[in-house]
Symmetry: C2
Subunit: 336 residues, 2 copies
Amino acid sequence: MSKTHTLLMPLDMHLHLRDGVMLENIAPLTAYSFSGAIVMPNLVPPVETLKDIQAYKARIIAAVPNDYFEPYMTLFYKNYDKKFLESISQEVTAIKLYPAGITTNSEGGVSSFNIEEMRETLQAMSDLEIPLCVHGETDGFVMDREAEFMSIYELLASTFPNLKIIMEHITTKEAVTMLDKYENLYATITVHHLILTLDDVVGGMMMPHLFCKPIAKRPEDLDALLNVALAAHPKVMFGSDSAPHPQHKKEACGCAAGVFTAPISLQLLCEIFEQYDKLDNLQAFVSDNAQSIYGICPEFKEITLEKRPFVVPKDYSGVVPMYAGEEIAWAIESVD
Amino acid sequence: MSKTHTLLMPLDMHLHLRDGVMLENIAPLTAYSFSGAIVMPNLVPPVETLKDIQAYKARIIAAVPNDYFEPYMTLFYKNYDKKFLESISQEVTAIKLYPAGITTNSEGGVSSFNIEEMRETLQAMSDLEIPLCVHGETDGFVMDREAEFMSIYELLASTFPNLKIIMEHITTKEAVTMLDKYENLYATITVHHLILTLDDVVGGMMMPHLFCKPIAKRPEDLDALLNVALAAHPKVMFGSDSAPHPQHKKEACGCAAGVFTAPISLQLLCEIFEQYDKLDNLQAFVSDNAQSIYGICPEFKEITLEKRPFVVPKDYSGVVPMYAGEEIAWAIESVD
């Protein structure tokens, strides 16, 4: 009998579901194998009112009628007053901060980190216990953007010591180091950043389906990420940053950033954790740590994965996944 | 009256002309504005016999019937005996060494730098005064490949002190540093590596037409390259590494490496050198240094460029150039 591994209530703590037909096509893929997901607010226009949040949540739930799945909603960070934040605090799980223009649909983000201008909002979030999720990149040289952002994380973490700050989709050894430096800093890590370096993206041919922001970094960065993920460091959570784009936008001249991993994340994670003989730590990485950090209690869902060859589909409704058409080592066996 | 600048006998010391219909389409573009070019031997199969050299040269000359243009032929490096090298020494200007598999059509290159296995060939080249052109990259991490190759340049340069070694299409500050460390090390620099960093390739969108090998590096590398090019360091020559691929191979998933600059190189060089107020040094960079280093005497050709907006064509016979459809600041005014 082949090897199996069971995961309870997997959570994707960083997910792009988009909207409209794309939402309808891809949300069921995550809802099938995850109990819930932190849903990013970078729609066009972004999610920034109570009405936006409630309407988007309703559209997500309508897109996944056959599965139990909890969309943990987020608000697009701007400077908000405390009264507004109080009014939405029960509707959102976190607020997501984008530096302006740093990635897809982030034009309305923060253009300068003036702590005095942000103080009211961040202090209110701290008081209301709303975590701050951050896309931590400067507009510097592409390989340095995340490392350069560390001083901003340090400023935020030290100025608001009771605010939970999640360094999203970290890609560098510098970010890993921060986890043990500030009590209120946490991180999500994608599955593709546990596999790729820049070599995979542009070292041989140029691979648009592996192109994302933050871009995959150096071998020593990959090692640092693997170290904390495989150990299920208690401040680290899985967040796929699965980011669907239509095939024609990925394979064009000037391709959009984002790796689509939602339907194969758990399978790939089993492969990686098994390879390093750390399968026992995967439960904490894909669910337990997130439950503790966010204080959330997803309903019961049990996913059993089996070690058997699985050929990744060439596309899911026109969205090309990582490893499209290639064989991976684990498959989903059952969902209860 | 607008500003003009005249160049005499421009030389492209690193050029890919390919073969067949591609050769017929693109060779005239270089022949129009350059007096001559070092033609790379990485055809399929590579140029490695006297017959190959003579036949390829004849095909090049046949492709440019209306222009004076000297194709300086190269041989694909393998370990050859001295007798063979004597037989071809008058037919080639240099021998080009590729590490195996490092770039387009390089599968038959050198797979290990065992100096004893290479000694007969390299000593004979030294004796016969045949320069060695080298694609200097290891198979390491993409951003480190050239810097890692420096120890091989040092080994070659110190073991064969009378062999002229040209570090082709250098992209790093480490390679620039080598120029003043070994008397017999020289370099070519492309125009795109005087403009791009990795930021331009994958920092915003992913730009296949700016993807090349070696890949564009960091800002401090760009600065180092600009320093020696703008100063027309006497050991540095212009070599475009212009590398045409059909549009469908550049804009596909898994795009081929190479930037096509042949028809706009001189215009872009004028723009760069003027920007830094170094136009007076351009003649040395695009011709005089190469004449001295290689001991070649091209026939007279005078190119006058004019500072006026020029919109780069979207393609040349199905090959998309750098800056396709965009406006650049200089244009070719006349060729005599």
